[in-house]
């Protein structure tokens, strides 16, 4: 008799447990993914992205998690894309196969990795946000990809007017321009857009136009040409940090540094904390960089918290974007009300807001066009001032006034 009773009790308890466990798992924890290079040459970018995403998750959970799901907490899973497109695809396949209850993911960083990863996430109908620039990512007719940064073409076309407006804000109208670029893919396409579209449209005169093959052994001949042509603005487009250093050093040596000649570079490699050690703050002073995202006005408390918790000197594009992406997922989940990737994707696709997560992206709005590109995405221009890159454009959210020579 007693055996029977105990068995019954056990069965009842077991049944209760079986019922309770899935219900508990569904409401208490929602998994989101970050898939980015965490090993190989781009590991540092992955690390910065994890730091940003972790901070966002901490903030979201501390503020009560997903309210429409009974305060469910977000949980971040990370996947390493390694150093090749093949490894990235493997990681994506592992992510969608082994984590069927993942609701959304972000990352990939390098455009070619993002292309490979989204081939998998699209077929798995997993919503994926990315900060990668390549136009191709959102030109394939995919429905589950959301590109938060301005695409490469948009950046190339909007960068120059933005730079000129920074100059005008500082009280100087620019009439001549110079280009010094290396011959790698991103520099070539950026410079092509400048030469063919932006410079003629702005009515500027191109007075010096130099292309070199990296790595540079000596920047003297290039900088001599720049000095004798005397452009009022120099677009500096290397891609290797060693070339960045040589050019900046030589400009300074020729008396063109520290903002005397406005210099604008393209790409976040000119604004990573490592530059502080490799080039040094004095030489970088005044150099401007166009990037897809940066910490702007209104985010001071987040940035302070980020600096305190991670020990990084400032919050880069990578950290800030993954921080904002977590908030996009949070808001998507709030609307969907359930941990279902298709419902979350629908909710993200339907967003049109200038509140909440929208504040973490330049342009300040989250709305997607039919390709999945963020409407109104624009570039941010940061300038090295007193040992840190600070936002000087767009003016609405800029934290600092630009330094620009008045003549």
């Amino acid at each position: 008799m007693s055996t029977t009773r105990r068995t019954l009790m056990m069965t009842a308890l077991g049944a209760a447990g079986l019922l309770a466990v899935p219900a508990y798992a569904q409401t208490s924890e929602v998994k989101v993914g970050l898939i980015a290079p965490m090993s190989g040459p781009w590991a540092r970018q992955g690390e910065l992205m994890i730091k940003g995403a972790n901070l966002a998750i901490e903030h979201i959970n501390a503020q009560g998690g997903i309210k429409s799901m009974g305060g469910a907490k977000l949980k971040l899973l990370t996947f390493d894309t390694g150093d090749s497109a093949e490894k990235a695809k493997n990681a994506a396949q592992r992510m969608v196969s082994q984590e069927p209850d993942l609701v959304a993911a972000t990352g990939a960083w390098l455009s070619s990795f993002t292309l490979a990863v989204t081939e998998v996430t699209e077929r798995a109908e997993l919503p994926m946000t990315t900060l990668s620039y390549s136009d191709q990512i959102t030109a394939r007719g995919f429905k589950y990809i959301f590109q938060t940064s301005a695409t490469a073409d948009t950046q190339a076309n909007t960068a120059l007017p933005a730079i000129l407006s920074v100059g005008e804000r500082a009280g100087k109208k620019t009439t001549t321009i110079g280009i010094v670029q290396d011959n790698t893919a991103s520099s070539v396409s950026f410079a092509k857009a400048l030469r063919e579209t932006s410079i003629p449209a702005a009515g500027l005169k191109l007075v010096v136009d130099e292309t070199f093959t990296p790595p540079l052994s000596d920047a003297t001949p290039l900088v001599q040409k720049v000095r004798s042509a005397k452009p009022e603005l120099l677009m500096l487009l290397p891609t290797a940090v060693s070339d960045d250093k040589l050019m900046v050093e030589k400009l300074s040596e020729f008396g063109l540094g520290q903002g005397k000649l406005p210099v604008v570079a393209n790409g976040a490699h000119f604004a990573v904390p490592e530059i502080l050690k490799s080039v040094g703050p004095e030489l970088m002073e005044g150099v401007m960089v166009t990037v897809g995202n940066w910490a702007v006005k209104g985010q001071e408390s987040i940035i302070d918290d980020f600096k305190k918790k991670t020990g990084e000197p400032w919050m880069t594009q990578d950290s800030l974007s993954s921080y904002g992406d977590m908030w996009i997922f949070k808001e998507g989940l709030e609307k969907a009300g359930k941990a279902d990737r298709k419902a979350v994707a629908d909710a993200i696709r339907a967003m049109d807001t200038t509140e909440g997560a929208a504040k973490f992206f330049p342009g300040g709005r989250i709305k997607w066009d039919d390709k999945g590109r963020r409407v109104g995405a624009t570039v941010v221009i940061v300038q090295w001032q007193k040992g840190a890159p600070v936002a000087v454009y767009p003016p609405e959210t800029a934290t600092h006034q630009p330094i620009w020579p008045k003549n």
């Binding site: 965490m38 090993s39 190989g40 590991a43 992955g46 690390e47 990370t78 996947f79 390493d80 390694g82 090749s84 497109a85 093949e86 490894k87 695809k89 493997n90 990681a91 396949q93 592992r94 969608v96 196969s97 082994q98 455009s111 070619s112 292309l115 490979a116 081939e119 699209e122 077929r123 390549s134 191709q136 394939r140 007719g141 995919f142 790698t184 893919a185």
Partner: protein, 590 residues
């Protein structure tokens, strides 16, 4: 073994293996694991492509990414730009790979050894920049929602495994076909000793070109499929160093020169690398590369030629030990009775005629104004102290070295300046001072390599080889592995290899070197038997004693010049000859 293997029977284990592989894959649910199954077959095929050139012929290529990348871009661009289905795009990749093989092979085969390897490295690096310059930094294969199967885009990932396995199986069967063919044996001969292969009548350039074309075709095919699996093609992902290295690593790890090698390599390394990446990558970023590297180093140390050979050698070692005593007795000089040999008379026709032959290496006159005639059926000895120019003279005779002046004619026709394999095809065989056997092959296979030059069919080659083995007295050892032979047996085998091409004139370079006196007797008997079959023999030697008993005529060389020619007994009493060998003091005593 060779010539009796039917491709059909040899393919059975391959097809069986592919069926088991596919059966296991079809039980797998996870798309992630199915992707690994696909990639294992892809990299196995790429390793097989590398092996077809580098494994069989020994020409190490660091640049197989060229073919792989061209194939990948061909299928991807065909679909993206022209809407051509990959079912046609991939075969287009095959053709592009083959053509690239030819275009790369023709100039690059002028180089040898490390220089060849380094030149191959340059091609993918150059192509990488060309494709970046063309603006193909990132080519995404368009997603086809309609007609997906036509565009090779399947939701059931097992189909990808199926295609990959089919390609791998085809590459394995092709490899097996090469291994058991005349072509494969020729490549092996080139790998072991290019000079010896040339002397055995193998057209080196032609064989190498066929190998690189086949290899490029296989790599181009699998590259074309790879872009359909990855759906994104970038120059670094298909032309990068890693792609070339991966092909090489699969083969080196599993075993070079066998079709099972790259397959074993891929089946171990790809899942290992991916598992390490998945399990450790997030915990300690980068550690997966360290563990992977250590695993490779460990295997290379423990099994330097790859896992396959290590295992096979272990298995063979046991078997050969059992058979050894039987072979040894049958290889002993229980010879057929020696028919009496008739020395050529004074009116015998002249087979080889050398006139005023000279060779200078810079200021050094290695051979000076040498003239002699060898009558048909003779045993003609060339003697002289070390450095007298004997081997250089041989190299001039069979075309390894070009003459500075003078002429060589064989059976009345001028052969000065012909390539070694052309000289060989005319009926001039030769052996080398340093024996270079193909140690892993059986005695018979070793000898067959030499038989191709005169045999029209593979069966004929086999027959000639067996006859040659019988003639030198290795009859019982035909199936043994060359690596288990004694030094004397190796010399006899080398003799058989030269003989298998059915030469009319045989040039023997220090065949007796390093042998004991009883072993010398065995070889002398074998040489006499060969001569009694009507083969004219020219032999270099510096052990005078043996030569006096063997040769009909002596030519004595010193400092590249002829210092004596005639009957051995007379020649050895000539003061100039004694002086050259022993110094002035002995010459005076004689």
């Amino acid at each position: 073994m060779f010539g009796r293997r039917s491709l059909l029977r040899e393919s059975l284990p391959i097809v069986g293996f592919a069926a088991v592989y596919m059966a296991v894959a079809s039980m797998v649910e996870s798309e992630y694991h199915l992707l690994t199954f696909t990639l294992v077959a892809v990299w196995a095929t790429m390793g097989l492509a590398w092996n077809i050139l580098s494994g069989y012929s020994g020409l190490v290529s660091f640049g197989h990414a060229s073919f792989f990348g061209l194939g990948a871009y061909t299928s991807a661009l065909a679909l993206k730009l022209f809407g051509i289905t990959p079912w046609i795009g991939i075969p287009m990749g095959t053709v592009v790979g083959a053509v690239a093989g030819l275009m790369i092979g023709v100039p690059t085969f002028r180089l040898r050894g490390h220089y060849f390897a380094l030149a191959m490295l340059a091609y993918p690096l150059a192509l990488l920049y060309v494709f970046e310059w063309l603006g193909y930094q990132e080519v995404a294969v368009p997603l086809m929602r309609e007609n997906a199967a036509y565009y090779m885009q399947f939701t059931d990932h097992r189909i990808y495994v199926g295609i990959a396995v089919a390609l791998m199986t085809a590459a394995m069967i092709l490899s097996r076909k090469i291994e058991i063919s005349r072509f494969g044996l020729s490549l092996l001969a080139i790998k072991q000793n290019e000079a010896a292969a040339d002397a055995a009548g193998i057209d080196i350039m032609r064989n190498k070109l066929i190998a690189i074309v086949l290899s490029g075709a296989v790599a181009g095919t699998i590259g074309g499929f790879y872009s359909m699996v990855l759906l994104v093609v970038t120059p670094p992902s298909v032309f990068g160093m890693l792609t070339s290295a991966q092909a090489l690593i699969m083969a080196l790890f599993g075993g070079v020169g066998t079709m099972w090698g790259p397959v074993i390599g891929a089946m171990v390394l790809i899942p290992l690398s991916e598992t390490l990446h998945a399990e450790l990558g997030n915990v300690i970023p980068g550690i997966q590369g360290v563990v992977f590297g250590l695993a490779i180093i460990l295997v290379i140390i423990l099994a330097p030629e790859g896992i396959y050979w290590k295992i096979r050698d272990k298995l063979r070692a046991g078997r050969d030990d059992d058979r050894r005593p039987v072979d040894a007795s049958s290889a002993a000089p229980a010879e057929p009775s020696e028919p009496a040999r008739i020395k050529p008379g004074p009116d015998a026709p002249i087979v080889l005629s050398v006139r005023n032959l000279s060779k200078n290496f810079g200021g050094l006159k290695a051979v000076q104004d040498v003239s002699f005639d060898v009558p048909e059926g003779a045993i003609f000895g060339i003697i002289g102290p070390n450095g007298a120019g004997k081997t250089t003279l041989f190299n001039l005779l069979n075309g390894f070295v070009t003459t500075s002046s003078g002429s060589v004619s064989y059976k009345g026709g001028d052969i000065t300046g012909l390539k070694p394999n052309a000289v060989c095809r005319l009926g001039v065989g030769r052996t080398f001072q340093v024996v270079r056997p193909f140690l892993r092959m059986s005695v018979l296979d070793n000898v067959i390599v030499g038989a191709f030059v005169s045999a029209a069919t593979d069966d004929q080659a086999r027959e000639n080889a067996l006859a040659a083995i019988e003639l030198v007295g290795l009859g019982g050892a035909a199936e043994r592995i060359a690596g288990s032979l004694t030094n004397k047996e190796l010399r006899l085998m080398e003799l058989a290899r030269a003989l298998a091409g059915q030469p009319k004139l045989l040039l023997l370079d220090e065949t007796l070197a390093g042998l004991g006196s009883s072993e010398v007797e065995d070889l002398l008997a074998a040489i006499r038997r060969i001569a009694s079959r009507g083969v004219t023999i020219v032999i270099i030697e510096h052990t005078m004693q043996a030569m006096v008993r063997l040769a009909d005529t002596f030519l004595v060389l010193d400092h590249g010049q002829v210092i004596g020619l005639g009957d051995p007994k007379t020649i050895t009493r000539e003061p100039r000859v004694i002086e050259a060998y022993l110094g002035k003091k002995w010459a005076n005593r004689a």
